[in-house]
Amino acid sequence: MTPPSWLGQGWLAPHYLGWLLHGAAMTAALALCVSLAATLLGILLCAAQDSPLRALYWPAHLFCSLHRNTPLLVQVLLWYFGAGGLLPDVTMQWLNTPHQWALPLGFSLDWPSFEWLAAWLALSLYSASFISAELAAGLNTVARGQKLAARALGMSEWQIFRFIVLPQALRVIRQPLLGQYTAVIKNTSLTMVIGVAELSYTSRQVESETLLAFQAFAVATLLYLLLVIGTQLAGSRQANGAPDA
């Protein structure tokens, strides 16, 4: 029997698998950096929206609905291709020039490409607005009566937050938060449109070089499954611990 036409010339050569693995590593690294930044920003946004101060509430609220209600793809395109119109030439030039920082023990930190920076920024802002909503929902689950009871016991506001609210809220938001982190992994795929060499980008690269579309997409899909399900498993195993980024 002849090999099926759509399978083309057999399986992917090892170095193409290497490209895809490299893409998966880029996806993981980007997702990790985005998750960290988005969590921090999400906490700030949540606190601001919880604040009685109008000057804090409205900007944070506006930020969140602005980012939640526009497609991520459009935000990514806007940040990357629109940056030239937003930022002064000097800033663009500085951002585009490679910088290097020497670290102890002979390591050095390379300045990321502008594609990477734009992707990181767009994804972080987008994800932060969702994470802040999950955090708010989690804090709201702790019944008001408990806080009153704690106050009656003479606990300070900080103690109430630390020992009463936080432990319960963390338990409630762990799953939704984990969901947000897996969403970040999947959302990194959109950055292929601005040339970030993540997994979807490399899968199309392998496809255009080998013309083995089926194989390239199959391996990429499998790697996404591994990354996402791995994150889910790692997250749910961490009993009672703080959610990992």
Partner: protein, 268 residues
């Protein structure tokens, strides 16, 4: 190993549908020829500002084929990377999108006689790029899934290749300084530059890397369809129509004039 048997089953399903069909009959029966053409690459295929229809040199060649078959032309907008998938998935009957003939692509699709020839060139800021050696260390923007992308990655390993969905997007990255040059077919770049509002800042680098031939892409094994396409192309050349089409987009009166140094039938 479960996967291979599943794949095998899917294949049997897949091939059964394809084996008997002849695309030429299908096209005539449907009365429609579906051609994948560029929508963002003047003058080959682009969205006309007034009519909002895709037009250009490739589209006129496609129209000639449709007229020869006496069917209606339906254009499927494509970017470079989607050309082969569109053809292989049967979403288009032909590709007329500045499609360069390569040995690698011949394994997946068939090509007609070439109807255009050009070479890989670069756009950079004025005075910043004058010879190929300068490419080392530069970041160069290309289109995903093009011969230029593959050629640069293979032959210029010190150049960082960044691939975008389409040439105008790559040009935007050049404007923003994200890449220092962009690479495509010389003819395509000349036209892109001619249409750029800020063309004074950029130039076509004065060297060409390769000689490439562009042809109509066809699904594999459609001998009758290929024959009709080739006949149409040769007739276009013989009647002088091919030259007229060329002049309409690259002639002396156009924005980016380019002398015609290739005739249909010159290369196979």
């Amino acid at each position: 190993m479960k996967t291979p048997s599943l794949l095998l089953a899917l294949t049997l399903l897949g091939t059964a549908g394809h084996a008997l069909a002849d695309r030429l009959d299908d096209i005539k029966k449907a009365g429609v020829l579906r051609v994948a053409a560029f929508d963002s690459n003047p003058p080959f295929g682009f969205l006309d500002a007034k009519t909002h229809q895709i037009s250009g040199l490739d589209v006129e060649v496609a129209q000639a084929i449709a007229s020869k078959l006496k069917v209606k032309l339906e254009l499927v907008p494509t970017n470079p990377a989607n050309r082969i998938p569109l053809l292989v998935a049967g979403k288009a009957d032909l590709v007329a999108a500045n499609f360069t003939v390569t040995e690698e692509r011949k394994k997946q699709v068939d090509f007609s006689l070439p109807y255009f020839a050009s070479g890989q060139q670069f756009i950079a800021r004025k005075g910043s790029l004058s010879k190929p050696e300068q490419l080392a260390g530069l970041r160069v923007g290309v289109d995903k899934g093009t011969t230029q992308e593959i050629y640069l990655r293979e032959k210029y390993s010190k150049t960082t290749v960044v691939a975008y969905d389409d040439t105008p997007l790559a040009f935007t990255a050049l404007r923003n300084g994200n890449v220092q040059a962009i690479s495509q077919d010389g003819s395509k770049l000349a036209a892109l530059l001619a249409n750029a509002p800020d063309k004074a800042k950029y130039e076509l680098a004065p060297f060409t890397l390769t000689r490439e031939y562009q042809a109509i892409g066809l699904p594999k094994g459609e001998a009758r369809l290929t024959k009709v396409v080739n006949e149409t192309l040769l007739e276009l050349e013989k009647s002088g129509q091919a030259h007229k089409i060329y002049d309409r987009w690259f002639g002396p009166g156009t924005k980016a004039p380019l002398p015609r140094d290739f005739k249909i039938g010159d290369a196979v």
